[in-house]
Amino acid sequence: MAEDGPQHAITPRAEQALSRIVLAGAVISAVLFAAGLVTALASSSITDASQKMSLDSIVASIASMDSMGLIGLGMLIVIATPLVRVLATILYFSQRDRRLVLLPIITFALIVAGFILRMLG
């Protein structure tokens, strides 16, 4: 049948798995953001709400697991969620459609390359 393109190879189970990944990421990060903000406000540790932070500072704060650490961890989970989704599609399509799997591989490589280029530059 003409309409049965490879997209239909994506089973409802796979769609549900992808949906669980992204929803879990959103919920966990929102909880961490809320916990971090409440803790920071309770301890009156925020002096400037719009203070910018480098990636190094954010990673260092996670190790301390204080209020900023919770927010930093939330931010990394937010950012990791779509990346995990891309990796999941790579795994899924590698077993189903070798030509389509190139697309998420290129996307993932571009994202990583863009980040590394900026870090080096």
Partner: protein, 280 residues
């Protein structure tokens, strides 16, 4: 402004923006960035970085619904993501070289486009492009969706892949430059140029914007333009607002409401232009 006051205003505004964005079917960036810059005096590049993180949260919170409903054309989304991500990375790398006033002027132009799109560009066409035959170049992107009126599964084909790729690049570039999701470019391009039904185009765009925004957000993060505290407050607000908007309120399709918000966007655009020109 005091820290608690700033965060409270941002939280409440974000809840409202999340709900309104969900009602109107657009991302919240076009509202969030002006509130942060004009209302709270935050640098537009920091506001763009914050907006990108909230876009990822919005996409992650709403995409599961569309995925469960089978509305997302995942193959097409993966194809377009290659171009949106390329555009987003280039845009985010350029941002550090642009002046604040130039970014504000660019944002004002996008606001006017968004206002016009909300009034004239969101009416879906009824006809569906026929699915492609196996072996043809677009066969892999054939999609399907469930028509809510007839409860039938409709099959459609996709055309004009190069044009869609170009639109994807432009949408990604805007996302990287000014922190919007780019749905206002992608959805009409998918619908009008590529023949994707409106609801499937909207769902596919929503599925993609998280990945596009991540590409830009990582570059913003590497540039040290992310402010974690306000980002956290805005992300929580948008998340709550999006849940309220999608669960408890029907999707508003009335032209009157969209026209009203379009007028608001044009007013904000004028203020942005004046600010960019040093008149405010």
């Amino acid at each position: 402004m005091a820290v608690v006051e700033t965060l409270l205003i941002l939280l409440l505004a974000s809840i409202l923006i999340g709900a309104v964005g969900s009602l109107l079917g657009i991302g919240g960036g076009v509202f969030l960035i002006p509130i942060m810059t004009l209302g709270l005096g935050i640098d537009i590049k920091v506001a763009a970085a914050t907006s990108l993180v909230t876009i990822i949260v919005t996409s992650s919170a709403s995409a599961p619904k569309y995925l469960r409903e089978g509305m997302v054309n995942i193959s097409l989304g993966m194809f377009l993501e290659v171009f949106t991500v390329t555009g987003a990375i280039i845009g985010a790398m350029l941002i550090v070289y642009l002046s604040q006033s130039l970014v504000e002027a660019l944002f004002a132009i996008v606001l006017i486009y968004a206002a016009v799109y909300m009034v004239f560009g969101m009416e879906g066409r009824k006809e569906v492009h026929a699915p492609a035959q196996p072996g043809t170049s677009t066969w892999r992107f054939n999609g399907r969706y469930r028509d809510e009126h007839t409860s039938e599964t409709m099959h459609y084909g996709v055309k004009n892949l190069p044009r869609g790729a170009l639109a994807g690049f432009v949408a990604g570039n805007l996302s990287g430059l000014i922190g919007v999701g780019g749905g206002i470019v992608k959805v009409p391009a998918m619908h009008i140029w590529m023949g994707v039904p409106m609801k499937a185009a909207s769902a596919t765009s929503n599925f993609m914007i998280g990945v596009t925004a991540v590409a830009s957000a990582l570059v913003y993060l590497a540039n040290g333009l992310v402010a974690p505290i306000i980002t956290a407050a805005a992300a929580i607000g948008i998340f709550i607002g999006a849940v309220i908007g999608s669960r408890f309120m029907p999707r508003m399709t009335g032209k009157g409401l969209r026209t009203m918000f379009s007028v608001v966007l044009v007013i904000i655009a004028v203020i942005m232009f004046l600010r960019a020109g040093g008149m405010l």
